[in-house]
């Protein structure tokens, strides 16, 4: 009997305390063949989660720390002259791994960001005359630190759209933090190896593609995305306690890529729960992650003291589930 995605989740939970959102995001991205953008303060086990996932799949893990002086070749690789062979040899960059952690992606200039995002999209890298396919599965988890924005290069919305989902990572609860202390203070637990194989992931991906999405659910997905463009009478409490129109906070809504992302993610979530059909709950659970980085909020969001997630939640709540 083959391993199920739930087994992988359980194995990762034995290594990572709490942060179920990050683990789910990683697995969903893996099943959808997409990439994740994580926003949260440092020290929340993002690296550990990536490393644990790669280990559990017996895959390769690489971490790239983005800095202002990083060059595209530092990510994708370069050609060096081999004096012994008197020929150019290709040295592949750290992007050639199954799980790549792009740490603080907004610290590198646009040229480097775009090199990474192109590789994510194309799933291949061209170095000199040669094109090298990236390994399969290939998932990038990029992080952004919201606390320290000085000297950063914000990702344009068009670039962010390439990420399948954006997850906000929060602090663990007191109970979880106590367990972290128990587990890691004295003796760091090593990630589990070989829980599933890369071939299993490819098979799960095929299964996820075959998950049934009912017509009613498809309409719900389209309505959800349309609500970001036609927020109409949806209102959300502002900082001063008064309700403001969500439409007045949005410059542009989510693209059709969000519609596709919602469908992929709903299918993948259904598979994670061992179902071969998606439910409205699947769509609603993944909607904030699929929409968060695809809606262009304007300055009023800040001046009115509205949390972006509150506005998104109000939009989602305004669309009746089938």
């Amino acid at each position: 009997m083959s391993v199920r995605p739930a087994t992988l989740t359980a194995a990762l939970e034995r290594t990572i305390v709490g942060q179920r959102g990050v683990l789910d995001a990683l697995l969903l991205a893996l099943l959808c063949n997409g990439h994740v953008l994580l926003e949260g303060p440092p020290g929340l086990a993002k690296t550990l989660a990536c490393r644990a996932l790669a280990a559990a799949l017996d895959g390769e893990f690489k971490r790239i720390q983005f800095t202002p002086d990083l060059l595209p070749s530092d990510i994708v690789g370069t050609r060096v002259f081999d004096q012994r062979e008197s020929a150019f040899a290709t040295v592949l960059g750290p992007i050639f791994a199954n799980v790549v952690l792009a740490d603080e992606i907004n610290r590198a200039p646009a040229k480097v960001q775009s090199a990474l995002l192109e590789s994510m999209q194309e799933r291949q890298v061209t170095i000199g005359p040669q094109t090298h396919p990236l390994p399969d599965p290939f998932v990038v988890m990029a992080t952004m630190n919201p606390l320290d924005s000085e000297g950063t290069y914000a990702l344009p919305v068009a670039q962010m759209d390439r990420f399948l989902m954006k997850v906000n990572v929060g602090y663990p609860s007191r109970a979880e933090e106590l367990e972290i202390l128990e587990r890691f203070a004295m003796n760091e637990r090593r990630p589990l190896h070989g829980v599933a194989t890369l071939a299993d992931v490819r098979a799960w991906r095929e299964e996820a593609r075959a998950v049934h999405v009912d017509e009613k659910l498809k309409r719900y997905i389209v309505d959800l995305v349309a609500s970001t463009r036609e927020a109409g009478g949806v209102r959300v409490p502002a900082g001063n306690g008064e309700a403001v129109s969500v439409a007045s906070l949005i410059d542009y809504g989510a693209s059709p890529r969000a519609t596709l992302a919602l469908a992929y993610l709903a299918r993948a979530r259904a598979l994670l729960e061992d179902r071969d059909f998606a439910l409205p709950d699947d769509v609603r659970a993944v909607a904030p992650h699929a929409l968060r980085h695809r809606i262009g909020f304007n300055y009023r969001l800040t001046t009115q003291g509205v949390a972006a997630d509150a506005a998104i939640d109000a939009l989602i709540a305004s669309v009746p589930a089938p």
Binding site: H212, D214, F277, L279, D281, V319, A321
Partner: protein, 293 residues
């Protein structure tokens, strides 16, 4: 054909019941003390306007009465309608006076008025009924004698009318005696016709609804029926339009594991692929049977 008709009727009944209960989310929360239908005369005269009065007393202070349905007055012509809401020390009195006129003599039956509200005493959605009303429309008043009529003819006519009146009074007396023997409810002071106190009709139980759901699903195991039944069961457990299964599972009425199984099975039947429907609907029926067992 008969099976189809049964399914259609049951579905309709289920939808109506579900819709009624579904509205419970927007119903007023009231403590109904009296809800009566009366008339200012029990024997209205033909072509003479009279009044029907619906009186509702509640303990709460309210500014409007919602979900009050008046009976259909097919045999009477509606001339006017006046509503009055009066705050009282004991709460609020709502009084709706309908002015009508009858064009035919004979007996007229008026169905009860209905009110849907959440009973503030137990928090359940209920439908309240007034008493029904039966009126006897009689002919007009005695017309003056026409000039040129003979005295004998007039006397005969007068005697005939007196006899008819006598018979009528005797009949009314007999009806009143019979009614008193049957212990008719006391007549409240503001209205002439006997009225009964409001009798709240308790909403259908979850068990009733799930029993209906099972009958419907068994009779018509299609996706459309599964979707209808799912919606009806959701409303019964307090779920409202636009919620998802996760929301409904958080409702107190869904705490029972057997109800949760039913909800999950119906969700599967509503959203699974066509090939799985043949297994999903029997699974939903089985979950319903487990609950009803």
């Amino acid at each position: 054909m008969a099976r189809f008709l049964t399914v259609a009727l049951t579905l309709a009944a289920l939808s109506c019941a579900a819709a009624g209960i579904g509205r419970a989310q927007t119903l007023q929360r009231l403590t109904v003390t009296t809800f009566v239908l009366g008339a200012d005369t029990s024997r209205p005269q033909i072509e003479v306007p009279f009044h029907l009065v619906v009186t509702l007393n509640v303990r709460e202070r309210i500014s409007a009465v919602e979900n009050l349905e008046l009976p259909i007055l097919a045999e009477l012509e509606l001339l006017g309608d006046e509503r009055r809401l009066e705050a009282r020390p004991s709460g609020t009195q709502y009084r709706e006076t309908i002015t009508v006129v009858a064009h035919h003599t004979g007996s007229i039956s008026i169905a009860p008025a209905t009110l849907q509200a959440i009973d503030a005493r137990d928090g359940r959605a209920k439908q309240y009924f007034t008493n029904p009303l039966t009126l006897q429309v009689v002919g007009g008043s005695l017309e003056p004698l026409q000039a040129g009529e003979s005295f004998a003819g007039a006397a005969l006519d007068l005697a005939r009318r007196a006899l008819l009146w006598g018979l009528g009074i005797a009949c009314v007396a007999a009806v009143l005696i019979l009614a008193l023997r049957r212990r008719a409810p006391p007549v409240p002071p503001p209205v002439v016709v006997a009225v009964a106190p409001a009798r709240p009709v308790v909403a259908r139980t979850l068990r009733d609804e799930l029993g209906d759901a099972l009958s419907v699903l068994r009779a018509d195991p299609t996706r459309a029926t599964a979707v209808t039944v799912r919606a009806a069961v959701w409303r019964t457990v307090g779920g409202s339009e636009g919620e998802t299964l996760a929301d409904v599972l958080h409702r107190p009425a869904a705490a029972d594991p057997r109800v949760r199984d039913v909800l999950r099975a119906l969700e599967r039947a509503a959203f699974t692929y066509d090939a799985d429907l043949a297994a999903a609907v029997p699974a939903a029926c089985a979950a319903l049977e487990r609950y009803l067992a």
